[in-house]
């Protein structure tokens, strides 16, 4: 499968052809928000286009994202599920869930460590819920926030969830 055939979708998401799945997801979530939630950026041009045209932009963004998921499936010969479906089914964001989402997005720990500037051993401990080996809570929380941001998850929600499980485990001594 040639990426050139998907250029139209990359253009809609305003991305270069060589973008990764994580880039695609980030751009999709960002653009969807820009064109569905009124802001100081869109209000001054409200008169510029009709609501039908605006809906059409959102529809194209959705179509491009889902079209590109298919491309990544073919390239990797496996199925990338829509991460939103996984996320909505999660009750607690512990290490195992975070690792699962990271792997679904095909992000490796090297890239993650470089982008978040968190040592890889901490990331491993985070994902294996190895609470004793993690630093004090305030640092660990910061790690979870950076981790979640990198996966384009809601950092506050994920950190809240992760830390409450951690605190409970530490209190009860497992």
């Amino acid at each position: 499968m040639n990426r050139e055939d998907y250029r139209h979708y990359f253009d809609i998401l305003e991305l270069p052809l060589e973008s990764s799945l994580a880039d695609v997801r980030k751009a999709y979530l960002f653009l969807r928000e820009v064109y569905t939630i009124p802001s100081i950026v869109t209000m001054p041009v409200d008169e510029e286009i009709s609501s039908e045209q605006k809906e059409e932009i959102v529809r194209q963004i959705e179509e491009a994202y889902h079209g590109l998921l298919l491309l990544f499936n073919e390239e990797h010969n496996t199925t990338v599920e829509d991460i939103s479906n996984i996320v909505s089914g999660v009750s607690v964001f512990d290490g195992a869930v975070l690792k699962q989402i990271r792997e679904k997005l095909r992000i490796n720990l090297d890239d993650m460590a470089m982008a978040t500037r968190i040592q890889q051993k901490h990331l491993v401990n985070l994902e294996s819920d190895n609470y004793e080996a993690l630093p004090v809570n305030v640092y660990t929380r910061g790690f979870v926030v950076s981790y979640a941001k990198y996966l384009s998850l809601d950092p506050e929600m994920v950190a809240e969830s992760y830390m409450s499980k951690l605190k409970q485990r530490k209190k009860t001594g497992r």
């Binding site: 305003e14 980030k26 751009a27 979530l29 960002f30 653009l31 820009v34 064109y35 802001s39 100081i40 950026v41 869109t42 209000m43 001054p44 041009v45 008169e47 510029e48 286009i49 932009i57 941001k149 384009s152």
Partner: protein
């Protein structure tokens, strides 16, 4: 825009419609950063209210562009020493003439002399507003830079400025192809053609002929502005640059590059009031590092990516 072979220097211009967004601060700081890489002349083309010297920590120079327009003194003789190596300043003038007071022939002469300045970079600071003399000066630049702040009025003015700039550019090209006043006459009859906005006007013009459509498409693909966001206070503010870039593309079909942001720092206004150049007074400050990054991005074409 297109490179003129007789031109010696590369011109960068900063505009943006609204006053008080930090155009002069951003331009002067970029100028100081760029002066480490080559010879720079900064031009304060805010003819009605020149103030660039303040950002360099200088008092008002006695020579100004007024001497060029009224006494016909050579531009190169009006450049004053900025106190920074490799950086010269050509200042505007308070009160004597505004952008609207410049005649067509004077403007052309001014542009020709700017292009022939013996320097690597000319950085032009424009006044607020959308007078056609301001816009023509903006269009002279290879790098057209717009400064915005995370405020609705600044963003609204930026869109307005950008539309004006693009139509001015298109108007010149149309005239060259024998379609003088096409944009104006179409716009005057907009009710009849049910044209309400920029996109509809562009689409209507495109339908007139394949030649016109070809001109518009080629101009849209050549036209590129650089966006700099000033006074960001958080990540959400920083992302406004990404959003504005997307709106310009999806609503107007205009390409832009989000070249960088500068975080809010009260030391900026303090250093101006103390007649100190921020980049000199706080070379290790956060804004100074952000300015260095913006200068690098403007040179290389790199952009700020989505950080969320």
């Amino acid at each position: 825009m297109k490179k003129d072979p007789t031109r010696k220097c590369e011109i960068w211009a900063v505009g943006g419609g609204k006053g008080g967004v930090g155009k002069s601060f951003v331009l002067s700081s970029i100028g100081m950063s760029l002066a480490q890489k080559g010879k720079v002349v900064m031009v304060d083309a805010d003819l009605g209210g020149a103030n660039l010297h303040n950002f360099l920590g200088l008092s008002r120079p006695s020579l100004s562009l007024t001497d060029f327009f009224e006494r016909k003194i050579m531009l190169s003789d009006l450049i004053v020493d900025s106190g920074i190596a490799n950086l010269g300043l050509l200042t505007g003038a308070i009160g004597s003439i505004g952008a609207e007071g410049i005649k067509h022939s004077q403007k052309n002469k001014f542009f020709n002399h700017i292009k022939k300045l013996d320097t690597d970079y000319v950085l032009i600071d424009l006044g607020a507003g959308t007078h056609f003399n301001t816009i023509d000066t903006f269009l002279l630049a290879e790098k057209m830079i717009i400064v915005i702040t995370p405020e609705i009025i600044s963003i609204e003015n930026m869109y307005n400025f950008l539309r004006n700039v693009f139509f001015r550019r298109l108007g010149v090209i149309f005239t060259e192809h024998g379609y003088r006043d096409l944009i104006m006459s179409t716009w005057q009859r907009r009710a009849e053609y049910s044209i309400n906005n920029f996109k509809q006007l562009v689409d209507f013009l495109r339908q007139q002929s394949t030649e016109i459509a070809g001109i518009i498409n080629s101009e849209l693909s050549d036209f590129k502005v650089h966006i700099i966001l000033n006074q960001a206070r958080n990540n959400q503010d920083i992302m406004i640059g990404n959003s504005v870039k997307s709106i310009c593309l999806k609503f107007f079909g205009i390409h832009s590059l989000y070249s960088g942001y500068v975080e809010y720092d009260e030391l900026v206004s303090r250093s101006v009031n103390q007649r100190q150049a921020y980049m000199k007074a706080y070379p290790l400050g956060r804004c100074a590092r952000e300015i260095e990054r913006i200068t690098g991005n403007l040179l290389s074409g790199r952009q700020v990516s989505i950080i969320k």
